[in-house]
Structures are given as structure tokens and as C-alpha cells.
Amino acid sequence: MTDADTTGKPGPQSKYDYSKGPAPLEINMTWCKACNICIALCPKQVLEPDRNGKPVQARPENCTQCTLCWIHCPDFAITSNYK
């Protein structure tokens, strides 16, 4: 199991530039129930399911902080680092 599978952080292959700050979202993998609402509602395809169906930030550089993922999260598993 890689780091991305347990924390929802961008994987090692991600092109995200950490010098600009932390990744846009924090995902609490223990509270997440893999309902896929955040993945389906994201207009920029930032999130992708991992092998358990839980979201991983596959394209964090696309995030526009539109807030759709965390206001619709029924389990409060997603928080934003910026907005």
C-alpha cells in the first residue's frame, strides 16, 4: 500500500509543485465511506478513486477551490487547505 492509498495525498507520480504550498485538500481516510460523491461532483477531475474506492488527489494542480467536494461530503472527511 502506497502513501496515496492511506492519506489521499497526491502520489509520487504527481506533478504537483509543493513549493507553492500543501496539496489543496485534506482527506480523512478513516471517516471516508467511499460513496464517490466528491469524485463525481468535482468539475476538474482532481479526485480519482483508489483501489478501495476512496478519493485520492490525482490532479491537485487543477483544483480551483470551488468547495463542491467538501460541502457535499456526508461524513466530513474532506477539508480544504486554502478555502
Partner: protein
């Protein structure tokens, strides 16, 4: 930077209102709209600047009525359908507090239907948030008073032959002074309506259309939580646009927004007048 700090609080503000020591995640199915309503309620209360001691949450029995268990406010978890009578008592004893009733469609309209119309009639300052998922979810998918005609549930295996209740029309006709409806897909609107309902003086009802993909969605082939969310997006019609549409066009639509908003005398105020008028006698 200051705005970033303030904004950062906004996404994790929900976490500050959760009951400490409560085991998470919640008991609800993955993708259940009750969690979305819980988030809306927390953000609405936070935007109004109410403290945890000023709010009383009352609930009955059902999936939706598990909601106050997770929140760190004064709370009452009462018998089936009797959340509104308990809330009336709480409001009468502590008129300065904001009493919010979290109830489901079966809880408010089936076993508690009588209490519901009489709470509306009295126009007591209670906010009722009715989470309508069109089915009895906790007990195994039986048909509820809001199960639409022709749809399937475990007690209507050949399709429901009954017509369904419209809680908003019922409340407005019974005398409630603020009636609004939204869905869990339209979370920003839901949050705004809950805020308006809490601020409103008098009985206010917010109907939050929610998804039960475990029973209602599965038995009616409506798909998973995401498919039901998308259906809410397509079926929702704002109240202004709906006034120009015919009844046939509104057949399968959800009218969202503030449906009824009037000012009437409030029950606690009227009772206080009676008390003040007769205190000097004898």
C-alpha cells in the same frame, strides 16, 4: 493571509460542532444525504453566530433522527413522532433558546402527523427540518406517506397506489409561517434556507429532499447516491419559474426555494401577554 485563515476555518467548521468522544464515521449508509443536511445545519448555525448553549436539537426516531446524536448542542432524542410536542415543551420552558427539530418523513407525517399540523397551527417559534427520503429507511424500506404514487417499496411490491403528501403545502395550509424546500444537491441553498428558518419568528419548516439509494434507489432502479444527486439537479425547479409552469409540467419536479413566508403572532408571545394581563389580579 487573513482571508485564507478565515476561509480555512470554513471548511473544517463542521468538525468543531461534533460531539466529543462520539465514534465516527456515522451509522448512515455511504452517500446518505443526512450527512449533507448535518453539514448544512452546522454551517447555518455557525453563520448566525449562535453558541452551542443557545441551540436545542430535538429528534424522534428514524435514520434522520440520529443526527442530533452527533452534534454538540443541547439535545433530546424522543419517542417516535413526538419530537414536536417535546420541542414545544422545551421552547415554552426556555423561550430565549433556538429550538430545532430534526425529523424524517415517516416520523413527522405518519405517526407524528397530528402533532405536526398542530405545531403549525400554534405558530410556535420552532424550526423543523424535515429530511424527506420518500421511504422508511431504518426499518427496511416500507412505504411512507411521501412515497410517490407508482413507486416501489417493500410494502408496495406492485407499485404504490396511494397519492403522496406534500409536506410544504400541508404546513402552509395548517398555519406555518415560513415554508421552504431544497435538496441535498443544492447544499448552498439549503444552508441559506436553514439560516432564514432559524432567524424567522414563528413555526418554520425546511423540507430537505434527500436520497435513500439503499432502499428507494435500489427498489426503483434509481442508481447509487451519485445518480440520485444528479436526478435532484435535473428535477429541481426554482419557485419563481415553477409559478409559470402548468401542473402537468410540474408532475415530477421538485419546487425549491421559499414557498410560503408570512408574519403572524407567535404562540409564546401571545401566552406571555395573557400571563402579564392576569398577574396583577387576586
Amino acid at each position: 493571509m487573513a482571508t485564507a485563515e478565515k476561509a480555512k476555518q470554513k471548511s473544517d467548521v463542521t468538525l468543531h460542532y461534533l460531539r466529543p468522544g462520539k465514534k465516527f464515521p456515522s451509522v448512515w449508509c455511504p452517500g446518505c444525504g443526512n450527512g449533507v443536511v448535518m453539514g448544512s445545519l452546522i454551517r447555518a448555525i455557525d453563520n448566525l453566530g449562535l453558541s452551542k448553549d443557545e441551540v436545542v436539537l430535538v429528534s424522534g426516531i428514524g435514520c434522520s433522527s440520529r443526527l442530533p446524536v452527533y452534534l454538540d448542542f443541547n439535545s433530546l432524542h424522543t419517542t417516535h413522532g413526538r419530537a414536536l410536542p417535546f420541542a414545544t415543551g422545551a421552547k415554552f420552558a426556555q423561550p430565549h433558546m433556538k429550538v430545532i427539530v430534526i425529523t424524517g418523513d415517516g416520523d413527522a407525517l405518519a405517526i407524528g402527523g397530528n402533532h405536526f399540523i398542530h405545531a403549525c397551527r400554534r405558530n410556535i417559534d420552532i424550526t423543523a427540518i424535515l429530511i424527506n427520503n420518500h421511504i422508511y429507511g431504518m426499518t427496511g424500506g416500507q412505504g411512507s406517506p411521501t412515497t410517490p404514487g407508482g413507486t416501489f417499496s417493500t410494502t408496495t411490491p406492485y407499485g404504490n397506489v396511494e397519492k403522496h403528501f406534500d409536506p410544504c403545502s400541508l404546513a402552509a395550509a395548517a398555519g406555518a409561517t415560513f415554508v421552504a424546500r431544497s435538496t441535498v444537491y443544492h447544499e448552498p441553498q439549503l444552508q441559506k434556507l436553514i439560516g432564514q428558518a432559524i432567524s424567522h419568528r414563528g413555526f418554520s419548516l425546511v423540507e430537505a429532499i434527500s436520497n435513500c439509494h439503499t432502499y428507494f434507489g435500489r427498489l426503483n432502479r434509481k442508481g447509487d447516491a451519485v445518480a440520485m444527486f444528479d436526478a435532484f439537479k435535473e428535477r429541481a425547479v426554482p419557485v419563481g419559474k415553477a409559478s409559470k409552469m402548468t401542473e402537468e409540467e410540474l408532475e415530477d419536479k421538485i419546487v425549491t426555494g421559499v414557498i410560503h413566508n408570512v408574519e403572524k403572532t407567535e404562540f409564546c408571545d401571545e401566552y406571555q401577554k395573557v400571563v402579564d394581563a392576569h398577574m396583577g389580579e387576586k
